[in-house]
Structures are given as C-alpha cells and as structure tokens.
C-alpha cells in the first residue's frame, strides 16, 4: 500500500514550493487567481473523464459544482465537527460531504445518459445544470437568488498564513483528483470507459456493462466537481446561483476540448491557460479602456477548433508528447 502512495506524496511536496513562491512573491490578487487555477484543474480533469475518456458529452458540470459549493458553504456555517485546532480537517470533511452530494446528483444525471447520445445528451445535461441552478434560486434557506455570504475560509494555524492553508487545501485535492483519475483511466476500468467511447455496441457485446460505466463516470466526475465547488466557495466566500450558470459549464468544456479530448495533462494545461488568459488580458483592458477579454477568448476558441480540432495535446498525455516532439528534435 505504501509503495503506491509514493508518487502522490512526492508530487504534493513538490508543489508546495509553488505555494511558497506565491506566498512571498506575489500580491493577493495573483494568489486568488492561482487558487482558481487549482479549482479549474480539478473541474477540467473530472469533466475529461466524462467527455474525453467515456465519450459522453456533458454540458452540465457547473450544476455539480453548484451542489458541492452550497453543501460545503451551508455545512461550514452550521456545523463544526472538529475543535478549532483541527480547523483544516473540518474543511476536508465539508469537501467530502460536498463531493458525495454532488456524486448523488451525478448518479441522477447519469440515468438519461443511458438512452441519449451526443447533442441530445448535451442538452439534457445542460437542462439538469439549469434546473439545479433554478432550484437553488428558490431555496430561501440557502439565500435564494442572493446566495450565501461570509462563507468561512480556511483558518490560519500551525504557522501557516491564510493563503498557504487555502493553497494546501486546494493542492491536496488537486493531487488526489489527479492520481485517482490517472490510475482509474490506466486500469481495466479505464479501458472499459474508453471502449464505451469507441463503440458502445461492440463494448456491450464484449461484456462491458456500458450503462454502469457511464453512470460511474458521471458519479466520479460529479464527486470531484463537487469538491471543486466546495473549494471555490471557501475561496470566494460568497456564492450565488448565477455564478454556476450555463457559461461556467461551457468554460470547463472548453478546457477539456482545448486541452485535447481524453488527455488529462492536456486538460490541466488548458485549465491553467483558460484561467490565466482573462487575467492577463485584463492589463490590455486598462490600455484600450474596453473589456476585450471575452472577445479575444471566444475568437481564440474558434481558431483553435478550426486549426487544431484535436486540441493542443490531442489524445496524448504530456510524456507521449515529450517523447514524440522533444526527443526527436534533440
């Protein structure tokens, strides 16, 4: 058991360096953006499991994120399981709770995916996302349209500043999500998911229970989307139904498609790019005085789809790219 924990722990420690660099080198505005990068990486990796690996096109990922965000926000305001000193672990519990709730909704949304394909499934998942948003809009105990304010954030403690504890919390989940998904995809279960994408009828004939595979993909992806929702709730400390609308789902789909369908490292790279692009362009906004961010973002999207339909990484992961492009040239 221990041998298998080596890689995740090592990469977790490795990335703490980035946190330290951010802590001392940069302003809070850049730190918040870095936290959002972690949130989007988890969203992109988890959606990649559904859209990329299993070939089921979901346009409702923000719905699961919303469920996670609300569950974590509400529970953190009303229930403190562990004493103050272990405050950090409280948030892990809230995030797991958020993930489980979102996973349940993933199970629900998974059902229609058994009968519908392609565009129809995309529209139904979009519908689910919107229904979750409107349901939240009508729940007054969750603040209705006005959302929840002053959501508690990660406590300082053990010599860590607020940002560091937020960063570690996010990093913990990013590394966990990465290794869980990476190992599932590179196992027999992962191959079964790929077979559903390739040819459902052949997969079923070869003994793959395609329905349970699809539902499983939705449930796992929804769990991590819920966790990402919980993270963003505690980072922004204010959530409202409108921040989890249809456009948020589109953002995540764009990360998956831009990165390359089925490529996890592609999704990570695209998630970083898509999160940073608007912030980098914000500088441009001061020059031109006009907010060109979204115009450039949507134009870039169209051009990538036409020039590089396979996405930046295609179906390959970073190591394959490394072998193919870097080694050959050296």
């Amino acid at each position: 058991m221990l041998k298998s924990l080596k890689a995740p722990v090592l990469s977790f420690l490795g990335f703490i360096l980035i946190g330290v660099v951010l802590e001392f080198g940069f302003s809070a505005f850049i730190q918040i953006t870095a936290l959002f990068v972690l949130v989007n990486i988890i969203l992109a990796m988890s959606l990649n499991l559904v859209n990329g690996t299993t070939g089921q096109f979901s346009l409702g990922h923000a719905g699961f994120m919303a469920v996670g965000a609300y569950v974590s926000a509400y529970s953190s305001q009303h229930w403190v399981p562990l004493p103050e000193s272990l405050g950090f672990l409280n948030f892990i519990i809230y995030a797991v709770l958020a993930g489980l709730f979102a996973a349940f909704f993933g199970f629900l949304v998974g059902q229609p995916s058994l009968r519908l394909k392609g565009d129809y499934l995309a529209i139904v998942t979009l519908g689910f996302g919107e229904i979750i948003r409107v349901a939240l809009l009508n729940m007054d105990f969750l603040g209705g349209a006005r959302g929840i304010h002053a959501i508690p954030t990660l406590p300082e403690g053990w010599g860590l500043s607020r940002f560091m504890s937020q960063y570690l919390f996010g990093l913990f989940w990013t590394v966990t999500c990465f290794f869980v998904l990476w190992r599932i995809i590179h196992s027999s279960h992962g191959r079964a998911l790929l077979s559903v994408r390739e040819d459902e009828i052949a997969a079923e004939a070869m003994g793959v229970n395609t329905t349970s595979m699809k539902v499983r993909a939705f449930v796992i992806a929804a769990f991590f989307a819920g966790v990402a929702g919980a993270m963003s709730a505690h980072y922004v400390r204010y959530i409202s139904p409108s921040s989890f609308g249809f456009l948020k789902s589109v953002d995540v789909v764009i990360m998956v498609v831009l990165g390359g369908m089925g490529s996890m490292t592609g999704a990570i790279f695209a998630a970083i790019l898509v999160t940073l692009l608007p912030e980098v362009l914000r500088g441009l906004q001061d020059l031109t005085g006009v907010d060109l961010r979204m115009v450039i973002y949507s134009l870039a999207l169209i051009l990538v789809m036409i020039l590089r339909p396979k996405g930046l990484f295609g179906e390959m992961e970073l190591p394959d790219l490394w072998r193919r492009y870097v080694r050959r040239s050296s």
Binding site: M1, K3, S4, F179, V180, R183, I184, S187, S188, H189, G190, R191, A192, L194, S195, E198, D199, I201, A202, A203, E204, A205, M206, G207, V208, N209, T210, T211, R216, E315
Partner: protein
C-alpha cells in the same frame, strides 16, 4: 436434448409489420460447429442480434446451457459465455490491439475501483495476468508483434482476426462468427479454416458461423441451418443441404416454366 448447449426455440423478430425472422428453431451441441446460411437479407444477422441480446425476440426463447437468455442485456449474455464478431468490423479503432483484447477480459476482473486507485498487490498481479493471457491469445493469430499498434491501422484480414481474438478473450462457451471470411482471398480463407478448427479443439469452443463462402461452410460445418426470408427452409449435414431442392431454389431461383 440434454447435451444441447444452445437451444433456439421458435424465435420471431417483428419490425412493425415485417417479420424479419419467423418462428426459427435449432440447437447446437457442445463442441459442434454449426452453419447459418441463406441469401442476402434472409435475416441471418438479425438472428445473431437476437441471440446476443441486441434485439429482444418478439417471442420464442433462447437457452444457453439450459438458462434462458431472452431479456438479458448483451453484456450479461456475454458473461454467460456467448460472444460474437460483427459483419462490418467493430473494433475499437483508436485503441491499441492489446487494449482491444484487454477490454474483453475486463468482465473477469476481480479487483474493484479502489484496488485500481490504491494500485495494491492484487491489482498489479491481476493486471499482469490479464496482459499475459491477452498476449497468448494474440500469439495464436501471430498478432502479438503488433500489440501496441492502433487497431484501425491493421490490414483488413488482420482486423478480422483481431475481432475473433477479442471475442475469445471473453472466455466464451459459444462463439458466433458473422462472415469471418468476407473479403478474404483463397489462402487467407484456408488459414482461417485451420484456425477455427484449432481454437475449437484447444478451447473446447462451440461455434456458429454465418458465411457465404460455400466451400468454407461445406468444408467445416457439421450442421447447417438454411434461412430464407426469415424462415428455416432446411437443416442438416452439409451433404443433405447440398442436394436439397428448396435450398437450390432459394439461392438460384426457379427456372422459368
């Protein structure tokens, strides 16, 4: 009846008004090599689809080893040991040859999702075994050299063979081959006949074959069922089929009086 492995009794498939298959019955004994022939559009592939659960027969029953398969999902039927190849090849084109076979062995994987995430002993052992078994199967058709190539990039003949290997990887009792020799030249068909004989013997497999190549069918099938417009018009050993007037008429049509 007792040693009949596959019993098909009175299965009918109705699409709206059209009866694609009408009240078909036949049996297949353990280890036997059966043939299912008939002119184009006779309903042969529809029969295969009914046996494997893709279509649910409008009525009639299909028993495998005494258990009824009607109403079960294709993957459940595959777990019971009945597998197939497809008339137009349905390989997982973008995946590697090895992965195509490994997917078929997934149903026998014991280790669960958590084992995969934890990468524990049991998971690594089973993963190794699955790969070895898959490579052994590939060796039969000498495809093990191309294990890492994309299935879609193989030449046509080898893609056909890979589909058979993939079907065998589900550790079936009965294997349904849907026109395996389609598009093959003479020597390829000959080596296919040898391979089918060998896998029947090595793996005690029962085989049901849809084929247009009469030389192949008459050569290796022990019992042949002839379908025409969804109705069984003849059944029996190859000699009986070769001489039966009804079969000739169905294939060659009746001379103008």
């Amino acid at each position: 009846m007792s040693d009949a492995l596959l019993e098909v009794s009175g299965i009918t498939m109705r699409f709206g008004g059209l009866k694609a298959v009408d009240n078909l019955s036949f049996t297949l004994k353990k280890g036997q090599l059966g043939g299912l022939i008939g002119p184009n559009g006779a309903g042969k592939t529809t029969v295969f689809n009914m046996l494997t659960g893709v279509y649910r027969p409008t009525h009639g029953d299909v028993k495998l080893g005494g258990r009824s398969m009607v109403g079960l999902r294709p993957y459940q039927i595959s777990h019971h040991g009945l597998t197939r190849t497809f008339q137009n090849i349905r390989l997982f084109k973008n995946l590697s040859v090895l992965n195509n076979v490994l997917i078929a062995t997934h149903q026998h994987a014991r280790t669960g999702l958590w084992a995969a995430v934890a990468r524990n002993q049991a998971f690594r052992k089973e993963d190794r075994e699955m790969r070895e078994r898959a490579l052994d199967l590939l060796k039969i058709f000498k495809l093990d050299g191309k294990a890492d190539e994309q299935a879609g990039s193989l030449p046509y003949g080898q893609q056909r063979q890979l589909e058979i290997v993939r079907a065998m990887a589900t550790q079936p009792k009965v294997i349904l081959l849907d026109e395996p020799a389609a598009g093959m030249n003479h020597s390829e068909t000959h080596s296919l006949m040898e391979t089918i004989a060998r896998i029947r013997q090595d793996f005690q497999l029962t085989v049901l074959l849809i084929e247009h190549d009469m030389k192949l069918v008459m050569g290796i099938c022990e019992n042949i069922v002839v379908l025409d417009h969804g109705v069984k018009i003849e059944e029996g050993a190859p000699e009986r089929i070769r001489s039966s007037p009804k079969v000739i008429e169905a294939y060659l049509g009746v001379e103008e009086e």
